[in-house]
């Protein structure tokens, strides 16, 4: 077990180095010059650009700059946005809570509803619940989250005038109830497609497991139906469901870029789109790196969790 964890951590580290170097090289060859963005049209002269370049240390060889970047990262000095001059600590890292707020809430909501309806759908196969659930799942799988976002704004903000169209009430002085209205629509836009996905998946795995011999045996022993489902079916069908968690998180974070733009939600997705437009690679790099660390960590946890749920999975092989 310890050996597996160590191996996995080493691999994660190697992956992070490869990813960061690839992005570093790629973004240095974009052809878009962040310096010209910083100077703007009015102040741009070749001399000013050269001077600024020298001052920011952009003339050193690529590898030197890459190593320097790592040194800065490790000492907690995340640097500044080249194009806009904001400190990355306040401009990017401080935006994570906002993004995680909607994506994690969407994840929890979609997990509870998705697994719940998926289970009912499997237990009462071909009932009204099942048909409705499958219909919602089909729609959730086919309508992209940004389109849901637009529809929700039109419906709840413009027509019914119930909820605000955009923005986030910062945490702190206000209560949860003041912040809730701004949270509902973005979370719903992200959660509905996820729900569809999960509902379908839960239903199919549950039905798969429910048709296995040991479940029939449990039934034939006279164990009450609810107990069969809770004790025998549910537990065994949860392992594959947990495994899709990783993919759902990537989908959520990817989807949150568009949703944040639509709702003017001040999260990292918005920062990313602005940084990409300006070819602001110090920001894009750190964003991608943080994403890589997050994703590799989740994938690691999912593997561990899968092993805990299923004694047949051996990690130290």
């Amino acid at each position: 077990m310890a050996k597996y964890v160590a191996k996995r951590l080493l691999l994660t580290l190697v992956m992070i180095i490869i990813i960061s170097f690839a992005i570093f090289v790629a973004l240095n060859n974009t052809g878009v010059d962040p310096i010209s963005f910083k100077l703007g049209l009015d102040n741009y002269t070749p001399e000013a650009a050269a001077e600024l370049r020298e001052k920011l240390g952009l003339n050193a060889p690529l590898v030197v700059r890459y190593l320097r970047w790592w040194k800065d990262m490790l000492s907690g000095n995340f640097g500044y946005s080249i194009a806009h001059g904001y400190s990355i600590r306040s401009g990017l890292i401080a935006k994570w809570p906002a993004t995680l707020e909607i994506s994690l809430t969407a994840m929890i909501v979609s997990t509870v509803i998705g697994i719940g309806i998926g289970m009912l759908s499997a237990i009462w196969q071909n009932s009204i619940v099942d048909y409705l659930g499958r219909m919602i799942a089909a729609i959730g799988n086919s309508v992209p989250e940004y389109f849901f976002a637009l529809i929700l704004i039109q419906l709840f903000s413009v027509r019914l005038q119930l909820l605000p169209t955009s923005g986030r009430v910062p945490a702190g002085a206000v209560t949860f109830w003041d912040r809730l209205p701004n949270l509902i629509l973005p979370v719903a836009a992200l959660a509905i497609p996820m729900c569809g996905n999960l509902m379908r998946y839960t239903r199919n795995t549950m039905l798969d497991v429910a048709n296995q011999e040991y479940v029939k045996l449990a039934r034939s022993k006279g164990i009450p139906e609810w107990k069969v489902y809770i004790k025998h079916v549910f537990r065994n069908s949860m392992r594959p469901v947990v495994t899709v968690l990783l993919f759902r998180m990537t989908l959520l974070l990817g989807g949150s870029v568009a949703v944040e733009t639509i709702f003017s939600w001040p999260g990292v997705g918005q920062v990313l789109t602005q940084a990409i437009t300006a070819s602001d690679y110090s920001v894009v790099m750190l964003y991608t790196l943080m994403m890589a660390v997050l994703m590799l960590t989740i994938s690691f946890l999912v593997d561990l969790f899968a092993a805990l749920l299923d004694p047949r999975v051996r990690l130290d092989k």
Binding site: I23, L27, V143, V158, L253, V257, T261, I262, L272, T273
Partner: protein, 301 residues
């Protein structure tokens, strides 16, 4: 072995197999037709393809020509779905948009799957360090939100239809890779492969002429099932402004209009039309793909 009877028996076996083949096909077609959702999906796909192919004959308008006297009009007899903020007919733009959107999705899916098949074949058949390396590479891609890799890559190669297909193909092969690799790993132990190896057939020939046909079912289903994702990703990226250039009409660039507050709040038709086109097409391909899978590969539900 009876030399006289062998060829006859062989012919008969082939004839039997043929008959079985046609009856199997008939059975499959019957099963597919029995699946109402799949037939509905196929019908919608056919309608969309027809509309995309014959777009110039189905509408008198130009998808790009602005008409500033007719901006943001609601549906009418002249403009079935209304017009956008530059006075362009939305019905026309959906037709022409279908061309590019479907082209991007289908070609991305085909190329990504081709990459996945080749990588999976090599990894699964040869094993060893090559396989390990490919698996690591696929994990690297799979653990990232695809939309974000595509965003970052598109940022430095610039927007464009071809670039988008390229990036989709490079980032989208991992699912097929995993499936094909698993199939090759089990198939390479089968007797017919062992026989070919014993006869000294080249490994490439075994991989692509002996094993590949039996993997094709999986691949065809994968190609179909990947198309919806690409339609939605194209639209999402173009919506953000990083997909195809705004001058190309696609469902995504049409949706981009919703970035204007005025359109988002007060002219919902402008984004509702492309949004519904995307959703309907994706729904249809999903239904069709499910039906196809039920018929062709009943094991994999």
């Amino acid at each position: 072995m009876d030399k006289v009877n062998a060829p006859v028996g062989g012919h008969q076996a082939i004839a039997n197999a043929r008959r079985l083949g046609t009856s199997l096909r008939k059975k499959r077609i019957r099963k597919f037709v029995g699946n109402k959702l799949a037939v509905f999906g196929l019908a919608v796909i056919v309608v969309f393809l027809f509309m995309a192919l014959f777009a110039p004959f189905l509408t008198p308008y130009d998808p790009l020509e602005p008409n500033f006297g007719q901006t943001l009009k609601g549906p009418s007899a002249e403009h079935w779905f209304g017009t956008d903020s530059m006075g362009r007919d939305l019905y026309t733009r959906v037709l022409y948009g279908a061309r590019v959107s479907i082209l991007i999705a289908v070609s991305s899916s085909l190329i990504a799957n081709a990459i996945g098949v080749v990588m999976g074949a090599f990894g699964g058949y040869f094993g060893g360090w090559l396989d390990k390396g490919l698996v690591r590479l696929s994990e690297l891609f799979a653990c990232f939100p695809q939309l974000i890799i595509v965003l970052v890559v598109m940022a430095f190669i610039g927007p464009g239809t071809f670039n988008l297909i390229l990036v989709f193909a490079i980032t989208g092969w991992t699912g097929t890779f995993r499936l094909v690799r698993a199939e090759y790993m089990s198939k390479k132990e089968e007797t017919y492969v062992k026989a070919c190896e014993a006869f000294g057939m080249s490994r490439l020939k075994i991989m692509f002429f002996q094993i590949l046909p039996s993997v094709m079912t999986t691949v065809i289903i994968q190609v179909t099932m990947n198309i919806p994702g690409y339609v939605m990703s194209e639209a999402g990226l173009s919506f953000l402004g990083f997909g195809v250039p705004m001058s190309t009409p696609t469902w995504g660039t049409m949706l981009n209009a919703a970035k204007s507050m005025k359109v988002l709040l007060y002219a919902p038709g402008v984004w509702l039309v492309p949004g519904c086109a995307i959703s309907l097409f994706v729904l249809a391909v999903n239904f069709f793909g499910d039906g196809l899978r039920d018929v062709m590969d009943p094991r994999q539900q």
